[in-house]
């Protein structure tokens, strides 16, 4: 490539090492991430459209996708409510142990999913610490679809808290005072003044939790019961298809999930750019 052509896409700089670092980063990215993902997509074309649709419309596949998506949606909605309450309490109030609680919100990022899975399963089993309180009420959590939701609440909580917290901390308290001076009741101030600027953050946290929940595997399989058509999640069905050496089945389902992931990624970016336009900042 001539230097003239290079200048078009890269501004000249006195800093050395562009070729080395850029070349290495791109090669590594290509080998580890891009080539394998392209391989997955290409596998669909070798099996052909017809075969893909047969596999994609398989009732068990659709049921698994519905379980994954539905549970992730419920868990993200619950997190959107309680995550905001947690963020509010952590930012606005002072109480003993606040900093420890705040630090531990990130536990799901650090705790291996398998550990979370067996712990939640033991906790919400009919004889577990929480499960035995729910059992007399006729509520079964572990080994039912509700167990999936519990695991996904665990996985998704930090996404909501950590996106809402900084926005809440930077809110200008003067506006709330102005609202109060103008005669608004406290609940009116919260709903009409405090909440609107938080909405992009809440939506982003919700979408991040949802995206993570749809693909989650480790924590869910221990607590779900894994009954086909009832509590079998899509990632588990991929594993089952692989164990049956049904590579095409696994590929078709994985491709659908990949498409959903990209859709979620796009949605999150749209929320961000909407927030930038509407409130002058991204989250």
């Amino acid at each position: 490539m001539s230097t003239g052509a290079r200048l078009v896409w890269k501004r000249p700089s006195v800093i050395p090492g562009f070729g080395l670092t850029f070349g290495f980063a791109l090669t590594y990215l290509g080998l580890i991430v891009l080539v394998p993902l392209v391989g997955l997509v290409l596998r669909n074309t070798t099996m052909g459209w017809h075969q893909f649709w047969v596999l994609a419309l398989d009732p068990r596949t659709i049921a698994a996708l519905r379980v994954s998506f539905g549970s992730a949606l419920i868990a993200a909605a619950i997190n959107a409510v309680f995550g905001v309450v947690l963020a509010w309490v952590l930012v606005r109030y002072r109480f003993a142990g606040r900093r420890v609680v705040d630090a531990m919100i990130d536990l799901p990022f650090a705790l291996p999913t398998a550990v979370a899975g067996i712990a939640l399963s033991a906790l919400y089993a009919p004889r577990g610490w929480v499960g035995h309180l729910l059992a007399p009420l006729g509520i079964k959590v572990a080994y039912t679809p509700a167990g999936i939701v519990v695991a996904l609440i665990f996985i998704g909580l930090p996404f909501v808290v950590r996106t809402v917290e900084p926005v809440l901390a930077e809110l200008d308290r003067d506006v709330e005072e102005a609202s109060a001076t103008l005669g608004a009741r406290r609940w009116q101030t919260i709903i009409q003044v405090v909440l609107p600027p938080l909405i992009p953050a809440i939506l982003t946290g919700f979408a991040l939790a949802l995206a993570r929940g749809i693909g989650e595997y480790g924590s869910v399989i221990f607590v779900a019961g894994n009954i086909p058509f009832v509590s079998e999640i899509a990632p588990l069905l991929i594993v089952i298809r692989l164990e049956e050496f049904n590579y095409d089945g696994a590929t078709a389902l994985a491709s659908i999930m990949l498409a959903i992931s990209f859709g979620m990624l796009l949605t999150i970016n749209l929320i961000q750019s909407w927030s930038r336009r509407r409130f002058g900042h991204a989250i």
Binding site: L29, L86, W88, Y93, A180, G215, Y217, S261
Partner: protein, 289 residues
């Protein structure tokens, strides 16, 4: 009530909630926190130690458990440095230079975060598995990737790929390249500039990224489960060994192994929080995944 009208008690502040509401919100938040985060963590340690300390030690000293621990340490020892070198290189190229397609490159680097871990394992099975693209060739040359160490390393690298890069990129973009330009104009070599100027500027963010990368590398389950074949004592990492023991109803042993991973998580959180409190301004304001 008339008595309230004449009381000397100050009215609630205009921008605060009543004490009752405050307490209610705190109780609700903490109850939710306890049910979903705190109790599972405590339960791991209680279950692990339920049968006594000697059983706990025996469960961990078991040869299969020790093999799982060594394998996990080995995988992390390969994956974390590799992703660290990548993270530094990518951040250098992206933050210090202007080129077209930069934001697209950043999106690609973040990609593994939005892919299900199971798919991260699957893509390598499709490439290197017995019925994958390179399966027959690898078989003819007696090279095993799937159900062996290379597969576990690849899958772990995939899922921990963005951690270091995404901590460094925003920070280094914010810092600009003025310091480096000064050092270079004074005659320092490129490498010397990186070691003596750039590295001190990014050390805490680098440590932060490495820490998160390591925690995920040691704890990864889904991606590794797909490629490892879960062979006891051979290709079973610590999280996979937890699953094996749990499925064999060896609860104490499963929770003993899980407690080691939980300790690692707590240690990670402790260091991470310390870094945030002390050097928050030197770590970019991106909260991790």
């Amino acid at each position: 009530m008339p008595s309230e009208l004449h009381s000397s008690k100050p009215p609630p502040p205009a921008t605060g909630e009543s004490a009752a509401l405050r307490v209610t919100l705190i109780v609700v938040a903490l109850a939710f926190f306890a049910c979903f985060l705190l109790l599972p963590l405590i339960l791991v340690f209680v279950e692990a130690l339920r049968a006594g300390l000697s059983r706990y030690v025996a469960a961990i000293a078991n040869p299969d458990s020790r093999a799982a621990i060594s394998l996990t340490l080995l995988v992390a020892a390969i994956v974390v440095p590799a992703n660290t070198v990548f993270g530094i290189a990518a951040a250098w190229a992206i933050a210090k230079f202007d080129f077209k397609g930069k934001s697209f490159l950043i999106t690609l680097i973040d990609l593994p975060f939005s892919v299900s871990p199971v798919i991260a394992g699957l893509v390598y099975v499709l490439l290197f598995g017995a019925r994958g693209y390179f399966g027959p060739w690898l078989d003819a040359h007696n090279i095993q990737i799937i159900f062996a160490l290379p597969g576990i390393v690849l899958a772990t690298t995939f899922v921990t790929f963005p951690f270091v890069a995404r901590e460094l990129i925003p920070l280094m973009q914010e810092q600009g390249s003025g310091d480096e330009e000064a050092a270079l104009s004074l005659g320092a070599s490129g490498f010397k500039t990186f070691v003596l100027v750039t590295l001190p500027n990014i050390k805490w963010a680098l440590l932060y990224g490495v820490l998160l990368c390591n925690a995920r590398a040691m704890g990864e389950f889904g991606a590794v489960a797909v490629v490892s074949g879960r062979i006891r004592g051979l290709t079973s990492t610590m999280p996979l060994h937890v699953e094996i023991l749990y499925n064999e109803y060896a609860y104490t042993a499963a929770f003993a192994m899980a407690s080691l991973l939980a300790l690692l998580a707590l240690l990670t959180l402790a260091i991470k929080t310390t870094l945030e409190w002390r050097y928050g301004d030197q770590i970019a304001a991106t909260n991790g995944h």
